[in-house]
C-alpha cells in the first residue's frame, strides 16, 4: 500500500518509511500540492493516488472521510496517530515502525477504512 504523510507529522517519518522500502510521500515535500490545499483537498489527492493519509488531525480528517463515504466517494484510508502520542524527533523511529507494521499488514491498502496506532 501507499501513503501520504500529513504536514503536522515530521517529514523524517516519511523518509524512515521509505528507508524501510515503503512508498510514502510527505505532503510538505510535494511541490505539486499547494500549501493552501485544504484537508478535504489532501484527502481527494490521496484518494486519487490510492494513498492512505497518515495524520494526527483526527477532528478534521475523520469527518472528511465519513462525508466522502456518505457521498459514495471512495478514499484510500486513514492511519490515525492518537494525540496522546508525542510528536518529537526522538519518537520518529518508533512511530515509523508502527506505521510500517500497519502498511505491511494491509498490502492491498485500506480502502474506505481506518487504522489507529496505539
Amino acid at each position: 500500500m501507499k501513503a501520504l504523510l500529513d504536514a503536522q507529522l515530521s517529514h523524517e517519518i516519511a523518509q524512515l518509511l521509505r528507508d524501510r522500502g515503503l512508498d510514502v510521500d510527505a505532503v510538505t515535500a510535494r511541490d505539486d500540492i499547494p500549501s493552501s490545499a485544504s484537508d478535504a483537498k489532501l484527502m481527494e489527492i490521496a484518494a486519487a493516488e490510492d494513498r492512505a493519509v497518515i495524520t494526527n488531525n483526527v477532528k478534521d480528517f475523520r469527518p472528511i472521510a465519513a462525508r466522502r463515504l456518505q457521498r459514495g466517494e471512495a478514499h484510500a484510508g486513514l492511519i490515525l496517530v492518537p494525540s496522546s502520542r508525542r510528536r518529537t524527533r526522538a519518537a520518529n523511529a518508533a512511530l515509523a515502525d508502527e506505521v510500517a507494521a500497519v502498511m505491511r499488514a494491509n498490502p492491498d491498502g485500506l480502502a474506505d477504512s481506518e487504522r489507529w496506532l496505539g
Binding site: 503536522q8 492518537p82 518529537t88
Partner: protein
Amino acid sequence: MSEHFTLRLQAGTTERLQRRAKTTGAAPRSLASRYVEEGIRHDDNPLIYFVDGETGRRAALLGTQLDVWEVIATVRDNDNDVQAAAEYLNLPVGLVEAAVSYYGEFRDEIDAEIALNEAESQRGLEAYRKGQLALGR
C-alpha cells in the same frame, strides 16, 4: 458581546458581499463582521491567515499546510521548545514564533481546537479498540 457600528461601503462592495454571503450561506452582516475581525488579526499577525475547516474557521500559518493549533500542539509536545518544534516540522523558527505570538493573543481559541482534537482522538481510539475487542481481534 457585539457592538453596533455603522459604515458606508464603496460602490459594488455591498453587491459582492451579498453574492459571497449567498455562496457561503452566511448572513451578509455576519460575513462583513468576520472580514473585519480577520482582517485586523491578519494585519496584526501578517503570517497568519484564515481558512474554512471541518470544525469552522481557523487560523493557519501562511505558506504552510499547518493550522496554528497544530503548531502549538507540536511546541507543547516538545516541552515548549520552539526551536525543537521548528526542527520537527521542518519550518523556519520565525514561523513557529509567529504562531506562538498569535497563540498569546487568542489562547482560548487555539486551546479549544487542541482540546477538541484530543477529545475526538481519545473517543475515536476507544471506539476502535472496543470494536476490535468485540470481534475478538
